[in-house]
Symmetry: C2
Subunit: 428 residues, 2 copies
């Protein structure tokens, strides 16, 4: 009998850890991703803020898996899933049959019903997103320098980050550092340190998943870095030239979105029950409930709860654990053993804020500031895939730390030209 065909959709933490967990199993695996690389998402904000190059935090999936002979990596976009026929369709017309399907397609941004905001407030999920944010931030200072009008200059120097979760905090802290330190002395008509960086959170505090005391510390650290933190205030509207906050219109050319995520649209194609964010409400063994034991959904595409009812957070360690669990379940099934329920092990919660500022919550052991920052840095470099990347990222950081410089401050010609005369154009 031919070994079963396992199709894994998505080469993020969930999909990659599933695939690796099946290295010695008697299965044939096809790993499909729209990109040719695995992305170390926790450092994506560093690409968006020009501290790292795109290749620093990405590694080709083929290369990572070259030694695993039961895997075929396929660059492609899944556009349809036929659960009854057990097939899926790719954008290039190919149809693939599966015996087991692991949907690890991740999350995308959600604008809470305001899809028109997407054009004006890019979010941060992929390398494409990060390069777009980088382009906007770097060009904003250029436009401010070229502006003749004081109000226009101020609008180019207003950076609003919407959403006070870890990504929003990281972005705002780093933008403040860029304005205050990195660009010092490089402009002749503007003073970059006069840029306003505003972090806007609709809820009562930033980093809401952390204990209150750490949220308060994070806020103070942000303010010390020069970020204006606004809480309890939802953004009312966003367009090309500004946003509305508490009824007031504010002129701002750069608004970044770090507020909402939703599961990839593939999750909805299964016809399974989903939560409000579009995540599939999976069974305890991470399969799709209702007679589809051959389909697993993991990572940000799945809504999973701990036995005591807490939602499992959408973080890399959770996705890796789910990937490993699915691999174990598949191996068990091949041996005729029953599935075990998934148990999330929470090792803690880290968030970085900026230079020498972070908060750490290790299930009770809580600290912040310089020590937390070093801890965060060590953990992230340790988990970064590939020895080379770790080394280069460490060196880039050491360099940035010593000099305040950010080496990836590159705007391509095509990017710069895309909004020549942007001051007049509506797309900002």
């Amino acid at each position: 009998m031919a070994p079963p065909h396992v199709v894994v959709v998505g080469g993020g933490f969930g999909g990659l850890w599933t695939t690796r967990g099946l290295a010695r199993a008697d299965v044939r695996i096809t790993l499909i991703d729209r990109r040719n690389h695995h992305l170390f998402q926790p450092l994506l904000y560093q690409v968006a803020t020009a501290g790292l190059s795109a290749p620093d935090i990405a590694a080709p999936l083929r290369h990572i898996l070259r030694g695993q002979r039961n895997v075929e990596v396929r660059l492609g976009e899944v556009v349809a899933i036929d659960a009854a026929a057990r097939t899926l369709a790719l954008a290039d017309g190919t149809r693939l049959a599966y015996d087991l399907l692991v949907l690890a397609s991740g999350a995308t941004h959600a604008y809470f019903g305001h899809d028109d905001w997407a054009a004006h407030a890019p979010a941060l999920k992929t390398l494409d997103d990060a390069l777009e944010v980088r382009r906007r931030v770097l060009l904003a200072f250029e436009r401010a320098e070229a502006a003749d009008d004081a109000a226009e200059r101020a609008a180019w120097l207003h950076f609003a980050v919407v959403g006070g979760g870890p990504t929003g905090v990281e972005l705002a802290g780093t933008l403040a550092e860029i304005a205050r330190h990195t660009l010092r002395g490089e402009f002749r008509r503007i003073d970059p340190s006069q840029a306003r960086v505003r972090l806007i959170e609709a809820g009562p505090r930033v980093l809401a998943t952390f204990p209150e005391r750490l949220s308060a510390k994070a806020r103070r650290q942000l303010e010390r870095l020069g970020v204006e933190v606004v809480t309890g205030a939802p953004v009312g509207a966003i367009d090309a030239t500004g946003y509305v906050l508490a009824g007031e219109r504010i002129a701002a050319r750069t608004v970044l979105w770090a507020a909402g995520v939703a599961a990839s649209p593939l999750a909805a194609m299964l016809g399974a029950p989903c939560d409000r964010a579009g995540r599939v409400q999976v069974a305890p063994d991470l399969t799709v409930p209702g007679g589809r034991p051959e389909i697993f959904v993991i990572g940000d595409a799945a809504a999973v709860r701990t036995p005591d009812g807490h939602p499992v957070p959408g973080v890399a360690p959770a996705a890796k654990q789910m990937g490993r669990h699915v691999a174990r379940t598949i191996r068990d099934r091949l041996r005729g053993r029953p599935s075990r329920p998934f148990r999330y092990r929470d090792y803690g919660n880290l968030a970085t804020i900026g230079r020498r500022a972070a908060v750490v919550d290790l299930r009770g052991v809580r600290f912040s500031g310089v020590l937390a920052w070093w801890f965060w840095l060590a953990a992230h470099v340790f988990f970064l895939i590939g020895f080379r990347n770790r080394l280069i990222v460490l060196l880039n950081w050491a360099w940035a730390y010593l000099t305040y410089q950010r080496h990836a401050r590159i705007v391509l010609e095509r990017e710069a030209r895309a909004d020549t005369g942007a001051a007049a154009a509506p797309d900002g």
Copy 2:
């Protein structure tokens, strides 16, 4: 009296060295570039072949010049020059008046009257170009892996490089290394080492500016790396699915252009006499002949001859020397001294071919092979701008050398999607 306003167009080697040479002169300088960065062009082929990241070989112009208080850097595209009125116009509508103009706008590709080839055979002048070549090369292997048909697969695995100058030789040598070593073991349906890499030169030998003996050595080194070298054969046509050589049509999905350069179109706007490549035929002091002593043209935008009538080559050292010469001429004029003619000092000629293969011609001292390769590497790292970049580039190379890996093998999602189903689409 206000200090004279020097406008420098282009932040490449010529423009940057002019600007630096005027650091202590009593002038006001505006440096205009379409990009925000200076690019170390001699290593561009490394970005195209995924060995280096774009930021590794580029540094923001503002950052390089931050300490020079008499310079204002401006991101913008010059669209018109009015030499009579001594003004120029930018794409965003700004008009700038100059007292002295230094045109260092560089070169672009020339397709010898076949502009329709440009879409099918990208060339290599800017970071945008390099990332486009990288995308095509990486996706070609992906398409070959996905292809069901043997002929189609072969077409995706045929890489033709047109032009046997230094860029063509570097590209072909590196492509052969990628196919034979870097991708080894990563594919399941194709064997990347079966890819054909062909270097096509219309003239009788590769590296025609080198002595014949070194050309012959280069050819042998290329062949040892697995490159098929075809000389004395001009390409007859190029389209999305192949090219014509010596009357024969060859199916190839990736054709790269390294054959012709032409001066930037700005040079022609001066109304001065140009050579066939559109370069301004400048006076011995690098000014525009015929009553325009306030306009200098340098670097690849200028056609310059040595006193004994040899053309000055379009290489980085020549552009730097011209930049320094113009700065000296301007300083002399401010002191009422006469201009001196430009003298090109030829320190030699280097070309790399691939791993441990290069040719070096130091005005008589000629060598090739491993030693030449180390010499080439040392020279290029030494001249790379910015200490950080040198260090990172060296490390990337050391890593690549030891492992045969190329860390920048990233295809962005937008790039991959741009030709989903490319096998059927005409744009390849």
